[in-house]
Symmetry: D2
Subunit: 357 residues, 4 copies
């Protein structure tokens, strides 16, 4: 496994769901930056489970403990190492997964790849819990970006078949991003919250799960970050977004819809606004020729339904190579989309910071 | 600009559309591999323009000249360097683009980033012509993969609002991939070719352009390639696919559609087929936990309509900061999707080879 | 700061001398490898101070605590994270170093680079204490190499003007390497131990310090590891050896002496021994054309005298820009060479493992 | 083989001695920099053979042809690709080397590694001729560094047993560096030139060869470039210097001599000079804690005698595994040290530029 990301600022993530700790090293942070720890705790809490019925009842503290790189909340320039102790884990629940892989989980390829040596308790290193260090790193990145006048925010674009309004791709503002991403349930149109919750609850009651789409934006970026061919902004962001478990699609601006448009409809005209170049429509999602165009970055990620469902499922016993019916025990989120919002934000923020350093 | 890709096998691309040559270095190829140059020329020809009315009338030879790393068609283990000489370029066409950027092109951010120093003739290093070395590298990669029993193939999933059938995600075969990708017009359902061509022709006549979706598959991969977090198969492939100009979305398996499914519907059950584990549905597109699952890799890329259209467009004169109406002269593809098929295949093949070396 | 090393197996080191912990992440280890923790503790103890008068009286436990990547001493394939808690630190001693840099230490450039934000207590991230995680990583690497039939060992070639015998460059054996590197005082010729200790003691009594040369060898490597130009075995090993504080020179085989030889004298003839190619002399130190030649790797590192000496020294007050006499308080090794032996071994072992994975 | 170097500015080298061309791609250069092509040709000429009896009579033109990244001598920001056509090669001379490896050459490990597929004509990719693209890249780097007030220069410190004066490590100036490195025979003390030439001539007449030491310095660097642990200035420079064929040792400042000093003697006191911090002695060669100290960078590389000598040598026929006497035909430099001076300068310049971008 290679759990490293970044060219200019390096993130190395470690940990297994039921091991003694998870955490990360962030290498390449500027020295002398004052971290607002409260903001970091806030981001961690957004991702943490147990807040309401959309999430698993397992309680986690997720308090990040900084081991190096920071004195009195000021970065020293040395690698910032952080760990989160694991606790309150119920390892007994996962015993029958050793030989019968859960559908649409990492179990089967991990079994083959690691020859049975990988830690399967709670998904081990493949657990969604490993997104906690990413949220931590993103929370640090967001603060540094904020200082440069850049704001990153995301919302739930859809859960199951319930959709929120989208960002105004050409004109979304920093204030709008902060407002929506600080909501307990991150939707622009508050009226959809109940419908989304209901879709989740219905899935839960039918021992099923639902997925959704998260839309993220970044405003305030200078023009010309990134470059073409193998260092595009899209490549960098897609690369870190596809590191998040359950992401199966990534699109920018009009995304897949642009494929059915005509050029005259898809193209983003230039005009002048407040004495500066303004990009209308922004169907390109803030990226042209791989570089930031000055328009907001608009990126969407498709999140698959939680694969752990309590219904019976078809699987195969890898020892006997006979088909078996599997029932997954334990407690599972019927929908991880709300908790994934800060993870997507964190990934985008960290990806952008790496491009800008 | 950073035009490097790859961890284990490195691709470095160079060139400008109207410069003296374009080309690449591929570093890390195994020694002693016999290249089938005819197959390479065939892939180059698939990408080359001028074959029919879907493409620009500009004629290119695109003959790759190997400078090092190969003797008598056998790789030596040294870096394989290749160049393609540029010829038949009409530089005069682009003179008014210096200060008035073409909408949805790289012109504006490139102007800001490079302060007017970048080569703007024909798009310079941002030209779609730079995909020729990627096709070359992919053609080499495909041969090495083929020797390992892996086949990569793609087809036009849609152009404008005309759609082809999709691959059978769970059961697509190497033969099907070879068949479709060797067609002059790469569609599964031959009946859609005329409709697609008509959509392109209509766009051309109305001085407009159309986009589309390309679907690519790879079969024969062993289980367990790639790993979770920052080295997922999806991260690697998305990273190289978003290097291709005009790609605005990348999805795997059911992709964005999975977001609206229930887990019971989205999950891929395991069964036994011919004594081996078989993955039904394959909504995960052959990747679980970031690793290959043994099912076919299924990936789709959204291609935006060619931004160069002959209609009048709104832009801004960057010298005077006044709005201006722009008419782009020169010859342009009303649709690049057919020519992009081998580019997508090449990117997927090279990305997979890098993961496997 | 960038504290990452490795292409195929990645080492990321963190910590500050007087922070809460130091440690590392090793990413890319094979799964299913059984670690012998006793051997790891043994290597850590070799580096740990306080054993005798050549070292600082500060007592450290240096017990590595594994946070992830290992269950029941078996690697899981996930990143191996390790921390060592810091304790028994006397921070008060370093107060006057804030503005008056110690000669030949990192103080001055760190002050400029980090603008006063770096942790100066005990040298912070620049402390020799940060070699403990390198020894840990090297101890893991040595075990994996040992399984492949490769042995790495080092000895004190010289301290001050007292020299040990050198390895027989062409014929040194695994057994000889293990014997010398497991000695409490790693010299081949036991008779020089007393003379070396005496040189150190004399330096200590005169409030001074001494340096030395460490010679390291690796045997059992297959032919053809590494490659020419930018991936030579020498580049890789020099790169990690110069990461060790106090190393000011690195040479292979005959090293700097080869510059004064004639070709006829320097060249290593080939002969046949036990049916295999044998390389006589081995003035090239086991590396030809950047690749392993099959002969033992022979590498030497020059270690400068401990810059912290108790004599008065000339320095400058960076606040007032006036010259000042500095007296460094605290406890310091008059000679770090004996403790650096396992660090050099570790660096060579980790560098070789990275080349071989 | 991996022929890539650099983190921020990437150099990818290709070619084989008797192939159609050698060259490189430099990726990451700033846009808008005006190259002085005459200076580049001058550096190429310094490395080129055939000027006098110290070099091989083989005539090369070594004219670099720029393929992309430069218009009217101004960098465009796109990758700079360059090729040098090979000509005047006598391939017939090398026929008997296929199975009988030349002592102290890459032949034997390359034969094993590449299984006989590597190009052996003239050393193929292992040829010293591949240093020409490095000199080119270094010539570009030197110009960019010069613009930042940084000068790099080198001289022949010794050939065989004849030594030149060394640089004044604490006080060497840009002017001194430019003066010595522009000499036809780069020595500080002109009186040693004849003695060095005589040593080379004696070796030549006895069918032998000689090596030497090259000393390189860089002045004008800001304080704080590089960082500790795995990104030290020493690591970076040693890594690229050991990429040069024939380099067997690299040392900074007092280098290996520092190992025998006492700390009081080795330490570099600080004083104030012209209102700035001045580092006396500079035994650390301009690097403290892995960072530039503001004092001149002083680095020395040991060059082994040319392994191609015309005397009979002992070798082994790899087909028959029988010992054989080898006589190397063809024309060979009895001493490559004078021609290696610009190569060492180029490597140091490129390494420094990569650290500074």
């Amino acid at each position: 496994m290679s759990s490293n990301f970044g060219q200019n600022i390096k993130l190395s993530v470690f940990g297994e769901s039921h091991g003694s700790a998870i955490g990360c090293i962030i290498d390449g942070l500027p020295a002398g930056f004052e971290l607002d720890m409260e903001k970091i705790y806030f981001e961690m809490a957004r991702r943490a489970p147990g807040k309401d019925k959309t999430a698993t009842p397992r309680l986690e503290k997720d308090i990040p403990i900084i081991l190096s790189g920071v004195i009195d909340n000021i970065t020293t320039g040395a690698p910032l190492a952080m760990e989160i102790e694991n606790s309150n884990t119920k390892s007994g629940d996962y015993s029958n997964l050793m030989s019968v892989p859960r559908p649409s989980h990492s179990d089967y390829p991990a079994y083959v790849k690691y020859n049975g040596n990988n830690d399967i308790r709670g998904g081990g290193h493949f657990s969604g819990r490993l997104t906690a260090p990413i949220v931590f790193a993103g929370a640090v990145a967001k603060q540094i970006l904020e200082q440069k006048g850049i704001t990153v925010g995301a919302h739930i674009k859809s859960i199951s078949d319930v959709s929120d309004k989208g960002f105004d791709m050409a004109e979304v503002t920093a204030k709008q991003l902060k407002d929506v991403s600080s909501k307990a349930f991150a939707v622009i149109d508050n009226d959809v919250e109940d419908k989304m919750r209901q879709a989740v609850e219905e899935a839960r009651l039918s021992l099923d799960s639902v997925g959704g789409v998260i839309e993220c934006a970044a405003v305030g970026l200078p023009v010309g970050i990134g470059s073409n061919i193998f260092s595009t902004v899209e490549s960098k962001l897609a690369s870190i977004l596809f590191a998040i478990p359950a992401v199966k699609g990534v699109e920018f601006g009009a995304g897949f819809d642009i494929a059915a448009m005509h050029g005259s409809q898809a193209n983003d005209p230039y005009s002048v606004k407040d004495g500066r170049v303004f990009i209308e429509k922004n169907n390109n999602g803030g990226v042209l020729g791989g570089m930031t165009s000055g328009a907001p970055i608009i990126v969407r990620a498709a999140i698959k339904p939680t694969p752990s469902i309590s219904q019976e499922q078809k699987s195969v016993n890898l020892q006997t190579m006979e088909e078996e019916t599997l029932v997954i025990k334990g407690r599972h989120d019927p929908c991880i989309v709300p908790r994934a919002v800060p993870v997507i934000e964190a990934a985008v923020a960290f990806g952008l910071l790496d491009l800008m350093m």
